[in-house]
């Protein structure tokens, strides 16, 4: 076998089989919902939250004008157990954020009891967020930023974001969502006759 033939074979094998992803049932092509105007979303986040964090360095976290969470474990716990409105920003286009870590996030948002608005940020935003929160006790290692939509946040802000982002759609999880999560079996006995 010549070298050229080996090369050809390698190229053939390296071609990724895409039709699996184009499947409407699993809908993995649209794992991350489309954002209509990414620039607008980024500026909204930047002006309302990030630019003000710098001035809040000496203020304790619970007195901030909004509730922000950046830790992965805390976010997962909130989405698993909580029932509230949240906006979750994800820097999924930055190479320094682990893709394995983010892979399950859309599914978690879909399965969560919270009504989550999942927003993907443009590339380069991870570093911008890290720079904005250097003086605060928060650390943004995983490219996640969760904003709780409680009384502190105006409805207008939430609506504007919700209009820009498509809702999540995973038809295959529709049935799973209504199943009880942990199966428990009760040990019983029948009296002998």
């Amino acid at each position: 076998m010549s070298l050229k033939e080996v090369d050809k074979k390698l190229v053939k094998r390296r071609q990724v089989y895409r039709p699996v992803l184009d499947n409407p049932f699993t809908n993995e092509r649209a794992l991350w919902p489309r954002v209509k105007d990414p620039q607008f979303i980024w500026e909204l986040l930047n002006t309302t939250v990030l630019s003000k964090i710098k001035g809040l360095a000496s203020v304790p976290l619970n007195e901030w004008p909004w509730d922000v969470i950046t830790d992965y474990n805390e976010i997962v716990q909130l989405l698993e157990t909580g029932e509230e409105d949240v906006v979750l920003y994800v820097c999924n286009r930055d190479s320094d954020v682990s893709s394995v870590l983010l892979q399950q996030i859309p599914l978690l948002c879909y399965m969560s009891e919270c009504s989550v608005t999942l927003v993907q940020l443009p590339s380069g935003s991870h570093q911008a967020i890290q720079e904005a929160i250097t003086s605060s006790p928060l650390r943004c290692q995983d490219g996640l930023l969760l904003l709780r939509c409680n009384d502190k946040i105006s409805d207008n802000f939430r609506d504007q974001i919700a209009q820009q982002v498509d809702p999540l759609q995973f038809p295959w999880l529709e049935g799973v969502k209504h199943l009880p999560a942990t199966v428990r079996r009760l040990k019983t006995s029948q009296p002998s006759r």
């Binding site: 089989y17 499947n23 399950q104 890290q130």
Partner: protein, 190 residues
């Protein structure tokens, strides 16, 4: 079947198998998930297909032990774990997926390149300006490598080739044999 038809058949078959894997959690029979996943993977192997990294990479999408599709809040517990004391082999931060079907725990090393940690490391070691020097060295090595370019090597090869060596030798011989008119040779002969 012609080529188009076979491809259509292949796509249909694979998507059907892939959908079945995803349908299983709804049916609540996690025991079958390994069988269905294996059937799908075998089919892709038979057609010599390279799956997208989203599906293929490690066992982030499917459990590495029982093969169930991971669904947060349903059959997987996700958390990140930080080790304070780290050895050389162990990464400082790890992502943990615990499958609730088979209670198998999978870990994925996370490269934490956060600037805070880098800053902390710098504080411990004190500031050492090492990398600009390395850069210079790299430049030098690049230049050296560039000097021996393909053209130069080809020239060298030509010079060292057998025919070239032979012709060189012949020329020397001719020089020795040919009567020269120079004063030196005349003196030597004399």
């Amino acid at each position: 079947m012609n080529r188009e038809q076979t491809e259509k058949f292949r796509d249909k078959q694979l998507i059907q198998k892939y959908n079945l894997i995803h349908l299983l959690p709804t049916l609540n029979v996690p025991e079958l998930s390994g069988l269905y996943l294996k059937s799908f993977l075998n089919a892709t192997k038979r057609y010599q297909l390279q799956l997208p990294p989203l599906i293929n990479d490690s066992s982030s999408k499917f459990c590495g032990s029982c093969g169930a599709v991971r669904i947060p809040r349903f059959n997987v517990e996700m958390s990140t774990v930080e080790h304070n004391k780290t050895t050389a082999d162990e990464p400082p931060r790890v992502l943990q997926y615990k499958c609730l079907n088979c209670s198998y725990t999978e870990t994925f090393p996370l490269e934490s390149q956060s600037r805070n940690q880098i800053k902390l490391q710098n504080k411990d070691q004190g500031f050492v300006a090492t990398w600009p020097q390395e850069k210079q060295q790299e430049k030098v090595t690049n230049k050296v490598e560039k000097k021996t370019s393909a053209k130069d090597r080809a020239k060298k090869r030509k010079l060292n080739s057998l025919s070239n060596l032979l012709s060189k030798k012949n020329e020397e011989k001719k020089k020795q044999n040919s009567p020269s008119l120079s004063l030196e040779s005349f003196m030597q002969q004399g």
